[in-house]
């Protein structure tokens, strides 16, 4: 391979390797029994949600507890747009005529869901991004409550506390895979852009980044809007996976699950989002079997329902205490081949193209500065 080609391959390797892993999972799933396929499709929906969250959290360094709001908005917008007009006339009399009579196909409806969420994220972001980071994190919690109250009570347009039904169930392994790959590619290329790099700089040292003239608010806003778009897409996919959209689905438990996956995987890298999802989805599936129970001779052993939640919460706690950068330790996928050239001439702390350090020596530079305490 030519030198330039190799360099390009190496630059996109963190994305390419993750994409290959995800595609391999999809191919294995496609020959699995139908329940297995459903589980993998669900895991891909989760992956889109986690990558969506990662785009903001991973680059800005602040946690958002509000992204599930965007999932709810995406799910509702797409469900309403793809519902049969007859059903809408009965259940959602308050819709504008234009929407009531329309029945969109899947992709435009999904994009509409994503765009509505992105616009809302922009509007919400205006007051939110002005807050200090920790204040903003908490205020995103308010966002969760706002959408819950808004959607849950706007009976004539959203159905309020009732479930929305009567729209196509289309989220298969392949649809999930396609969106997951798009989300991953966007996340990867965003963190390579100037905006992404500046935001990562503010994550490492806000004061220094401000001192060299970075407009923190603007870049946080950009990441927040992109993040909201993909969270909404995850919501769209979830709705069309379950076939039912209820506001109760989009609240604290889902928020916890998605934040936990990202933290366990490692908030600092796209690899963390992907491997976190794989690890937790696999574990949840195993524990689901344990909860159903199994037979040893005459003995039926089963765990109480809800065990998976406790294990995820405990896992998250242990990760924070003992491996705070997650199972990937905040790194992207390392380049697997030894290239003598860069080892001999390079400086000891190599960065790959997206600015995250990948080599062992980089621990020296990525080390956290002592906090003000």
């Amino acid at each position: 391979m030519t030198n330039a080609g190799l360099r390009l391959l190496r630059a996109v390797w963190p994305l390419l390797s993750l994409a290959l892993v995800v595609i391999a999972i999809a191919m294995i799933a496609s020959v699995a029994p139908i329940t297995g396929q459903r589980r993998v499709a669900e895991a891909f929906v989760t992956l889109v949600a986690v990558v969506g969250l990662y785009i903001f959290v991973g680059n800005s360094g602040f946690v958002s507890f509000g992204n599930v709001s965007f999932m709810a908005i995406g799910a509702y917008v797409s469900a309403i747009l793809t519902m049969r007009p007859a059903a809408k006339a009965v259940f959602l009399p308050g819709l504008p005529e234009l929407i009531k009579s329309a029945q969109w196909s899947a992709v435009p409806a999904a994009l509409a869901g994503g765009c509505v969420a992105a616009v809302l994220a922009f509007l919400v972001g205006i007051p939110l991004m002005r807050l200090s980071g920790i204040g903003a994190s908490i205020a995103t919690f308010a966002l969760l409550s706002i959408t819950r109250i808004g959607i849950g009570n706007w009976d004539s347009v959203t159905g309020g506390q009732n479930s929305l039904m009567g729209f196509p169930i289309y989220t298969t392994v392949w649809i999930g895979l396609a969106w997951a790959l798009l989300a991953m590619a966007t996340a990867f290329f965003y963190q390579e852009t100037r905006s992404g790099l500046i935001l990562r700089a503010t994550r490492e040292d806000e004061v220094a980044a401000r001192a060299v003239g970075s407009n923190i608010h603007r870049h946080r806003m950009i990441a927040f809007v992109i993040s909201a778009f993909f969270s909404a897409i995850a919501g769209v996919l979830l709705g069309h996976y379950l076939g039912v959209v209820r506001i109760e689905t989009f609240y604290l438990d889902l928020t916890f699950n998605i934040v936990a996956i990202l933290v366990i995987g490692g908030t600092g890298s796209l690899a963390g989002a992907v491997f976190g999802t794989i690890a937790i989805s696999t574990m949840a599936e195993l524990l689901r079997h344990v909860e159903i129970g199994f037979q040893i001779g005459d003995l039926h052993i089963s765990a109480p329902a809800g065990l998976a939640d406790v294990v995820v919460a405990l896992g998250m706690l242990l990760i924070i205490l003992f491996r705070p950068k997650g199972i990937t330790n905040g790194r992207e996928m390392p380049w697997p081949f030894h290239s003598g050239k860069s080892v001999t001439t390079g400086n000891p702390a190599h960065s790959n193209a997206n600015g995250t350090q990948v080599f062992a020596g980089s621990d020296l530079v990525s080390e956290q500065r002592p906090s003000p305490q």
Binding site: R130, G135, G306, L317, I320
Partner: protein, 295 residues
Amino acid sequence: MIINVIQNLVDAISVGSLYALTALGIGLIFGVMRLINFAHSELLTLTGYTLLLLNSEPTAVAIIGGVVVAIAIALATERVVFRPLRGADPTTLLIASFALSFFIQKTLALTVGSKTKGIDVLPQLGAQIVIGGVRFQLLKVVTIVVTIVLLGLLSWFLKRTRYGRQMRAAAENFRMAQLLGVRANLVISLAFAISGILAAAVGILFVSQSGFLEPRMGLQLVAIAFVGTVIGGLGSLTGAAVGGFLVGAATVLLQAVLPLGLREFRELFVYLLVVVILLVRPQGLIPAPGLRQRV
């Protein structure tokens, strides 16, 4: 008409008091270790379940039991989870407390079930009293009185006692306080114990008002109190109390003022108010000095 107004005001003040106490417990811990403690909500919840457990005992025993449990859990979480993380950045602490909160909540759901349970604590307080021709529920009045007493005690403790002064010093500049001989472990443990007492008080009052228990009730209350601490000004205790009070009181007043069709959206209006306040004062109503990192 005027009676109605007074009743609504008492309602607003009593709900506002509950949120003020909750926000104060959160603000106290934020002050000494820059931790936004999600697990504060589980202290409320666990107090509630302790009351249920001790339902057949005399009321005083149940209340003391609730307070003891809240303090014990607060101290245990500090020792096991937050002490090893001391000095970590606020976001890590935030996530840790979030995980801890869900761990306690989910363990509770696993052991006692996630179904809502009815409970009648302090049935004596359900009575109505008449003051100057206006009817009040005794519980509301008690809530307000308890809040005033706790606020008084807390401010006496912080201003007049040795450990209170140390706690304030630690909140202002932790490292400096340590250099001057403030013992970090003691002050932080003390802050957790006090937050446990505040949480227990809120737990008892809230459960007697609502009459139900479920594993996630605490988090819903605390989520609103969080918003209170942010609009009040993170890191300022007065700010936390004022912010919590305003958010709680505004919810009740809107319920009374809004036309019928809009009432279920009242919290939306509260949050809109919050947005307006934050646009005007991003640092909160009563900003804390010295919160921004100095370089």
